[in-house]
């Protein structure tokens, strides 16, 4: 089979998703041989997006005209486009204050110079283009990235679990931070796949992988309120990676 051509690009982001690829130290030389890496400014001198590309991995949210331009170019010359990481899939950390005025945020940081900044509210990729597949996580799990690359060599995408972090946490037999330690843990609402990384080391899940399908937001809200957290605190924490929870929803 012909080697698949891939592109890896970053929009408004921290480069952590791209770094996850570079962190596959053992596999990297093989990846470099099995794929044609067509565009990857973080790791390659090539500056132009020309295509054709089989799969484009895009990290980050869209928040500037130049982000949009790169995204469109990649979409146009790629067979599939993959949202890589929480920012690309859900908006992520930069989107947490999307309900506030962007102008005011900018002023806070840049004063009057803010008027010249060309940027808008960070949005996930699917608001602008068709997204064929997503790997969630802030940062994504190395294992899921490698599984995806392996599946691509066979011409498919893998299937990832659709249950909450809680399930993984229970099967690791961790102490439940939410019930037994009264900590604000978002495990019940959040997409598994990280093997409950944070609770496993005694730290509450901060929700970095975004909502699991059918998350019972209202129940978690009620539980946390009962434990004495204020609504503001809860909302602030929940919006860290995904600003659009429906708090009143009942499932």
């Amino acid at each position: 089979m012909k080697k698949p051509a891939i592109a890896i690009a970053g929009l408004t982001a921290c480069s952590g998703c791209q770094l996850t690829l570079l962190n596959c130290e053992e596999e990297l030389p093989e990846i470099a041989q099995r794929f044609i890496i067509d565009y990857f400014p973080l790791g390659l001198t090539e500056r132009a997006i020309t295509g054709p590309i089989d799969v484009a991995f895009v990290e980050g949210a869209v928040s500037t005209p130049s982000d949009l331009e790169i995204l469109m170019k990649l979409r146009n010359c790629s067979r599939s486009l993959v949202a890589l990481g929480t920012c690309a899939l859900w908006g992520g950390i930069a989107a947490m204050k999307n309900q506030e005025s962007r102008k005011d945020l900018a002023k806070t940081v840049y004063g009057f110079a803010a008027d010249d900044l060309k940027s808008f509210n960070p949005q996930p990729l699917h608001r602008f283009v068709k997204v064929d597949f997503a790997i969630t996580g802030c940062p994504p799990e190395k294992g899921e990235l490698l599984t995806t690359l392996a599946a691509l060599l066979r011409g498919t995408f893998p299937v990832f679990p659709r249950y909450p972090v809680c399930s993984e946490c229970r099967s690791r037999e961790n102490l439940c931070l939410l019930i037994e330690r009264d900590k604000m843990c978002l495990g019940p609402l959040v997409q598994a796949g990280c093997n409950a990384r944070c609770p496993a080391v005694g730290i509450g899940c901060e929700g970095c992988r975004g909502p699991v399908t059918e998350a019972n937001v209202a129940a978690e809200m009620e539980l946390l309120l009962k434990k004495g957290f204020s609504r503001d605190e809860i909302v602030s924490r929940m919006q860290r990676f995904y600003p659009e929870w429906d708090y009143e929803q009942s499932s």
């Binding site: 921290c14 041989q33 001198t45 090539e46 190395k142 944070c198 602030s236």
Partner: protein
């Protein structure tokens, strides 16, 4: 004949940057370097967040430096809220910081710089032309990642580091595994040093930088409470605004910084020149290349990073031994009482001086934040050097210029994600 050479995006650097050179005839009249990363307004995101949330949010400024941002924010928060941490917590923080330096330096040297040394485009080219060297670099890098994974619970955006303490300490098996891995890569770091010593910079010398670093105190080479420029010019970090002056951006989204009205240079080369504490093998390597790095221009920074790779692995081994010996047990972080206050801390990030400054109200809610990153401090010096280089290279064609400019910027190891998020509320 006037013309403009634009290099965009800069490749093999972290983040999105651009260089523009304006020529009058063959002479370069103006060179500007801009970072056009989308601003994420981190300081504004922090405003209104509890001190507990601050480290978890701020580490997302940048993946390469997530560990050091997290630690610097903890130091500043703990100063503001008068929190003291145990010896155990202090040692783990230093250990993971070294993990971050190993990871970052190895990535920079082997994935971003080494392709230049072998005249290839990137990693795929290295896999063909210099597979042994690439493998060695990735092996060293993996050791840095392993420290972050084992101590921090995750390689990027580590999770265990929290105000006043930490999550679960590492098990004995974890520490032994780290020890074995680090012992395995120590000789590799020595070979890496020899490799980078063999690539001497060519071309005319650039200005000798005005080095700036955290004044090293105690055994840890990267922690301290004051800033130094050598010549006994040392000021407490709390007074950093007297030393650094911010310039609003004309182009790009990052603010530049001048130190005493001059460009300053931070990073591995600055640290070595300003006398940081070295471990035995690192000290020996430094002796061997003293002539090449003392008062050298930025092109020696890669060699300085190679010396620091040895240092970081050696010092990590020392700390792992102390931790194994001490056999600490799990401590619970005892109740922190929020209070009004301000805290300012500095840490040596892989790329140089990093400063975090926060103020909190009496409920521990963040009311102000200012973050000064090394790339922002270095930006003025980068521009100065680019102009000098363009002048030395008058008459060269665009391809040569592009290559040389990119190599120069790479020598600074800029981190553009970090650079564009500065500032004061």
């Amino acid at each position: 004949m006037n013309r403009v050479l634009e290099i965009r995006p800069l490749t093999r650097v972290e983040g999105h940057g651009r260089i523009e050179v304006r020529f009058a005839g063959t002479k370069a009249e103006m060179v500007s370097l801009s970072f056009f990363e989308a601003p994420r307004f981190f300081e504004a995101l922090l405003k209104g967040k509890s001190y507990e949330e601050v480290p978890e949010i701020i580490c997302r400024i940048c993946s390469l430096c997530s560990t050091v941002h997290r630690i610097c924010s903890l130091f500043a928060i703990e100063k503001a809220l008068d929190i003291r941490v145990s010896e155990q917590v202090g040692l783990y923080r230093e250990l993971i910081l070294h993990g971050g330096h190993i990871q970052s330096h190895a990535l920079h040297l082997f994935c971003l710089v080494l392709p230049d040394c072998f005249a290839v485009d990137g990693i795929s080219g290295l896999a063909d032309k210099a597979p042994q060297e690439l493998k060695r670099g990735l092996h060293i890098k993996a050791a840095g990642n392993l420290i972050q994974e084992i101590v921090g619970g995750r390689t990027i955006h580590p999770v265990t580091l929290v105000p006043g303490g930490m999550g679960k300490p590492v098990s004995r098996e974890g520490l032994l595994k780290l020890k074995e891995t680090l012992q395995g890569v120590l000789p590799e770091t020595r070979r890496a040093f020899e490799l980078f010593r063999s690539f001497l910079p060519n071309g005319e010398k650039l200005d000798t930088p005005r080095y700036l670093s955290v004044h090293p105190e105690g055994a840890s080479p990267f922690f301290g409470d004051s800033l130094t420029m050598g010549n006994a010019e040392t000021i407490p970090v709390e007074l950093y605004t007297n030393l650094l002056r911010e310039k609003m951006p004309e182009t790009g989204n990052a603010k530049a910084v001048l130190v005493n009205e001059e460009p300053a240079t931070v990073g591995a080369l600055a640290r070595l020149n300003l006398g940081m504490n070295l471990t035995p093998m690192a000290a020996a390597a430094f002796e061997e290349c003293r002539m090449l790095v003392t008062d050298a221009d930025i092109r020696a920074n890669n060699l300085a990073q190679a010396v620091e790779l040895i240092l970081a692995v050696e010092r990590s081994l020392e700390i792992v031994d102390i931790l194994i010996e001490a056999d600490f047990s799990r401590e619970e972080t005892t109740g922190i009482v929020p209070k009004k206050g301000q805290g300012i801390a500095a840490v040596e990030a892989p790329r140089g001086v990093l400063i975090h400054n926060y103020s909190f109200d009496d409920r521990g809610i963040c009311r102000g934040a200012d973050i000064v990153t090394p790339t922002v401090i270095n930006q003025a010096a980068m521009e100065r050097d680019l102009i000098a280089l363009a002048t030395h290279m008058e008459g060269a064609d665009d391809e040569e210029l592009t290559g040389a400019f990119e190599r120069l910027v790479r020598a600074y190891d800029p981190c553009i994600s970090c650079a564009v998020h500065l500032l004061r509320i």
